[in-house]
């Protein structure tokens, strides 16, 4: 199978990856060959098989709803590219009305 250029562009946008022209072409070739390999699982009949998302018997874990210390705000913001008044500063998403 060979991926179309439209699919590569679409997936790159979904993943929020800015790719150069050259990267897109190389990605198209490499992903096509990997997908060809992984597609071999299609030959198995899994009609009656339940999916496994994880392998241990997990149960919901309950605890008292009590106040506990969390990470200090200064420590969390220390890595932020931009912060202001104890918040992460982000680029405006909405237009001003």
């Amino acid at each position: 199978m060979r991926l179309s250029r439209e699919i590569v562009d679409h997936v790159a946008m979904l993943a929020r990856l800015g790719l150069s022209e050259e990267e897109r072409e190389r990605m198209r070739e490499q992903l096509s060959s990997i997908l060809e390999h992984v597609s071999r699982i299609q030959e198995l009949d899994t009609e009656a098989i339940p999916p496994t998302a994880q392998v241990i018997a997990l149960q919901n874990i309950w605890r008292e709803d009590e106040v506990r210390p969390s990470l200090p705000i200064e420590a969390v913001l220390a890595n932020a590219p931009e912060s202001e008044d104890g918040f992460f500063r982000v680029h405006a998403v909405l237009e001003q009305s």
Binding site: M27, V38, R40, L44, A78, P81, H91
Partner: protein, 489 residues
């Protein structure tokens, strides 16, 4: 004396430290001297932390003097650079996290700190642990101590190389599809991937959350048992860590495997398998038989689908986990006119080629129209792979197989073809798919390079894995052999 000190196992060093025959500072100095000598050739570390190590070694000596030393007090260890540390940068081998200081320690790191274990540095890794050679690190590749033209394996290649060449006595790595076992094999040391849920993943930079597990490297099985004992156990901060008692793993090292039933899966003979490696493995199996174990043929019929299943599930989980690198909260942040433009630039320039490839693959497999055919289908095949193991373990105690189909390959040999690189994990991936514990240990040489034997076990049955690995180790000379580079003065 310094050379003798770096050749000690952690178990031996523990005894000498407690008898005050050596000090933790002396032990550290011997390792720092070795680092100075060999690190320019090996490049096992992204960040060295000699000042932190010295403070820890001094604290360890004070503690031992008070008679309060514990299992790993004063033992020099390397930490894979995807384990969060508050006092040294954590990069995960990526430019996108260059200079990142975590506001918290990973739980395994905190457990070691509590013992006054000595952190010599943050070990090199393929970017976000995605790779099999350490060539995907944004900070340059690590080289194999046995042959500098060859890779140490990956993704925990820095951890494995550091221990193999005496830059650290122990190391921690992480294993999502073989990233502890394959480099342990290529570098001729012991590496263990614990059962999923045995060790807390809190503070391990996430790659594929249903597969990732932190585990120990050492030059002997006893050392791996010691380190596992310290890092294992329930942690409220990781809801997938299991609340089961942690056994004293050293107690399992009884040296007797008479009557143990070892499964030999027919499916672990693949095209492309190096015949010299195969001969070494056959010889190792004969040794196990001579030690009194019974070799039992078993079948794991879905083995041939494990690699394909992995390369759907792992990238899918990775594409979700790596969505957090958005240039807002931490890490690289590149300017743009709009928020979208910022995302595209930051992620496009911050991630390396393999990480982008896997994000693309995972995003594709999870996207509308492909989700059922790829992701859900792969999860169903995962069930089949797990059932194969469940059935085999009704008849045998452990399963033996090669760790890798070849010895360490040359740098650059597989970088052009991602699929070729992926194939080096064909024998290690199934244990991750099924969540099983697995250990890799040296079992001889082919083409002058280490060959590795793998044992896979029942969930939470690390004691039996360690027992069989230890019995084999004690009957063979491989754990006493060092790469020439480690000994040159």
């Amino acid at each position: 004396m310094a050379t003798e000190l770096i050749r000690l196992s952690a178990g031996e060093a523990r005894r000498l430290l407690d008898r005050r025959e050596i000090s933790a500072v002396e032990l550290l100095d011997a390792h720092l001297a070795q680092i100075e000598r060999v690190e320019p050739h090996i490049h096992a570390f992204i960040t060295l932390t000699p000042e932190i190590a010295r403070r820890q070694a001094e604290a360890a000596d004070a503690r031992i003097a008070r008679g309060e030393g514990t299992l790993l007090t004063g033992i020099p260890i390397a930490l894979k650079d995807n384990l969060c540390t508050v006092d040294a940068p954590t990069t995960a081998g990526s430019r996108i996290l260059e200079g990142f200081y975590s506001p918290y320690d990973a739980t395994v790191v905190a457990r070691l700190r509590a013992q006054d274990t000595v952190f010599v540095g943050k070990a090199n890794t393929d970017e976000f642990a995605m790779g099999s050679s350490t060539e995907n690190s944004a900070y340059g590749p690590t080289r194999n101590p046995w042959d500098l033209e060859r890779v140490p394996g990956g993704s925990s290649g820095g951890s494995a190389a550091a221990v193999a060449v005496g830059e650290a006595m122990l190391a921690l790595g992480s294993d999502t599809g073989g990233s502890i076992r394959q480099p342990a094999g290529f570098c001729g040391i012991v590496g263990l991937k614990p059962t999923y849920g045995r060790v807390s993943r809190y503070g391990l930079i996430a790659f594929a959350s249903s597969l990732d597990q932190i585990g120990p490297f050492g030059r002997t099985v006893e050392d791996v048992a010691l380190l596992l004992r310290v890092i294992a156990g329930h942690d409220p901060a990781d809801s997938t860590s299991v609340d089961l008692p942690v056994p004293d793993y050293r107690a399992a090292l009884i040296g007797d495997i008479r009557g143990l039933r070892i499964g030999i899966p027919a499916e672990y003979r693949v095209p492309g398998m190096d015949s010299a490696v195969e001969e070494v493995i056959e010889e190792a199996l004969r040794t196990l038989q001579e030690l009194g174990a019974e070799l039992v043929p078993v079948s794991l019929p879905h083995t041939e689908y494990a690699l394909a299943t992995y390369y759907i599930i792992a990238p899918s989980e990775a594409s979700a986990n790596l969505a957090r690198y958005d240039g807002v909260k931490y890490g690289l942040s590149l300017p743009g006119e709009t928020l979208l433009e910022r995302y595209l630039r930051t992620r496009g320039e911050g991630f390396g080629p393999e990480v982008k490839r896997r994000i693309m693959l995972g995003t594709y497999a999870l996207s509308a129209g492909y989700y059922d055919a790829y992701y859900v289908k792969a999860q169903k095949v995962r069930t089949l792979i797990k059932r194969d193991f469940d059935q085999a373990f009704e008849r045998v105690d452990v399963i033996a197989a090669p760790t890798s189909p070849t010895v360490a390959f040359r740098l650059g040999e597989r970088t052009a073809d991602p699929l070729q690189m992926y194939l080096s994990d064909v024998f290690t991936i199934p244990a991750n798919m099924a969540g099983l514990p697995a250990i890799a240990l040296p079992c001889g040489f082919a083409h002058g390079l280490p060959v590795s034997l793998q044992f896979m076990g029942r969930p939470f049955d690390e004691p039996t894995l360690l027992r069989v690995a230890h019995a084999y180790e004690q009957a063979t000379p491989w754990h006493t052999m060092w790469p020439a580079l480690a000994a040159q003065v």
